[in-house]
């Protein structure tokens, strides 16, 4: 038992460490003082109302939400279609296509960001919402493909066959049989894409213009000049928003399964 206790103690310490930023940010955001201090002094909502006076945060929050939503929908559609082809058909080059679909994960975001900037400048979409959106779809596709492929690997194709035999139209089979069975994989792919886009800094960094700045980037820029409780209150808003999606993800799919942890657990 002694061994477990030592590991348990270190585990507790590590869990505290990785969650410390949030445990500090949320109380700090309610401070009544004009500067950052922990423990916070007094209690007020002043730094929350202050957010509304900063158009750069309100507008970038709006941009981020819009961007993450469109990214989630498009990446999920594109990734799911490709995963279907890869799982359903055996064909020459399927290995190459599979590797290609996952390849954006193996290249540092820094390089994806720089190369997109160079290319988008040539074709004239650098600094536009479209450019940003395309790059975010690119970095989300691998997750969707991987999740849907995993879902399809245990998919029972005889169910589809049964549908056909009973005379259903292929689209109806897809809509009434295939899609509902894959819903957990597809929905979690969508939520994960949303979070990937909503959190991203390194790729967005190279592709935004002043009027298309995303929220994490606005915080990043603001933080390099000023450190005040305003950063804490806007961060608390982001944490709350992200938490909603994390809980959803846990409910729909399970974080353990999402990160491929419990596949071999006993």
């Amino acid at each position: 038992m002694k061994k477990i206790n030592t590991f348990g103690l270190i585990t507790f310490f590590v869990l505290l460490l990785v969650n410390l930023p949030f445990l500090v940010i949320i109380p700090s955001s309610f401070t009544a003082a004009g500067y950052l201090a922990f423990p916070p002094e007094g209690f007020s909502f002043q730094w929350y109302t202050m957010i509304l006076d900063r158009p750069e945060f309100v507008e970038s929050l709006w941009t981020s939400l819009k961007l993450a939503t469109v990214t989630a929908v498009l990446a999920t559609v594109l990734g799911t279609l490709a995963a279907f082809a890869l799982s359903k058909y055996k064909f020459r080059g399927s290995g190459v296509i599979n590797a290609l679909m996952l390849s954006p994960l193996t290249v540092p975001s820094l390089i994806i960001g720089i190369s997109a900037l160079l290319f988008f400048t040539r074709i004239g979409i650098a600094g536009t919402f479209t450019g940003l959106l395309l790059a975010h779809i690119l970095i989300s596709i691998p997750y969707v493909v991987r999740l849907v492929l995993t879902g399809l690997s245990t998919f029972d194709y005889t169910l589809e066959k049964a549908g056909y035999m009973l005379g259903a139209h292929p689209l109806r089979v897809f809509w009434d049989i295939t899609l509902p069975l894959l819903r957990p994989a597809i929905v979690s792919g969508m939520i994960f894409s949303f979070l990937t886009s909503f959190d991203n800094v390194t790729v967005s960094l190279f592709l935004v213009a002043p009027d298309t700045t995303t929220l994490p980037l606005a915080i990043f820029t603001y933080m390099q000049e000023t450190l005040d409780p305003l950063v804490a209150s806007i961060s608390a808003v982001v944490i709350l928003l992200s938490l909603v999606f994390i809980v959803l993800l846990e409910k729909v799919y399970g974080l353990e399964r999402l990160f491929g942890l419990n596949s071999q657990s006993h």
Partner: protein, 280 residues
Amino acid sequence: MNKRLSITLLTAPAMIVLLGVFILPMLLMLMLSFQDENQAFTLQNYTLFVQDSFYVEILWRTIRVSLWTVLATLLLGFPVAMYMAQATGKMRGIVTMLILAPHLISVVIRNFGWVVVLGEKGWINEMLMKLGLIEQPLRLLYNELGVVIGLTDSFIAYMVLAIATSLYAIDPSLSKAASILGASRIRTFFTVTLPLCLPGIIAGTTLVFSLSMSAFVTPALMGGTSVKVMPVIAYEQIMATLNWPLGAALAFLLLGSTILLVTLYTKLIETKRYKEVFAS
């Protein structure tokens, strides 16, 4: 429907994005890194790196910071993975949730939390001063230590995941067999558990190393202007100096040296393992 047509229709949309936003841009970036101001072919962007000790120094700092991060995540992450492997269903679920959930919240925000904790008027310094342990605030931020703390927080989940996955796969009857044969707990750990989860350790260390080498946000926010690493100077060349060929070359040099070091490391460990197997 024709099979060929179906495959094309299903994969085409994603393939177009991959080619147009990833493959083509990468090729363009590679081409650009070999160009001078007049768009003629040159190697100067790469040779500059070897000639100028400024860049070599920065690469070395990037590697140093990454190695410290690997060490910290390994030392802290290994016991967590061991705990998860020994824990039962519910407890394991809670630990997994608490280690993975922060990972899904933006790194900018996590770094901000650390700035509040580690700053000169931060929580740790205030506490130590109040306790009278120190007179001057410790410098925990805007140096390499700060960057390593931030990166460790960012990447420890990957280390834990990699090691835990390999620990889960170990047949528990092996440790039982070892203890029945009279091996002590420590001996069982070193002769059974550790060798069997080595692939997980290798996967975790290489992943954390690669991620640390190319991290941009944490060095920028927690290292300030004093800890410039390769991604930061590549960014400056691209966005501030507007020397795109040099910025592109620096990014590729970083990627190249990361791949080289990771390959050397895995080769070294593999050879050592073969030697162990054949020597005994």
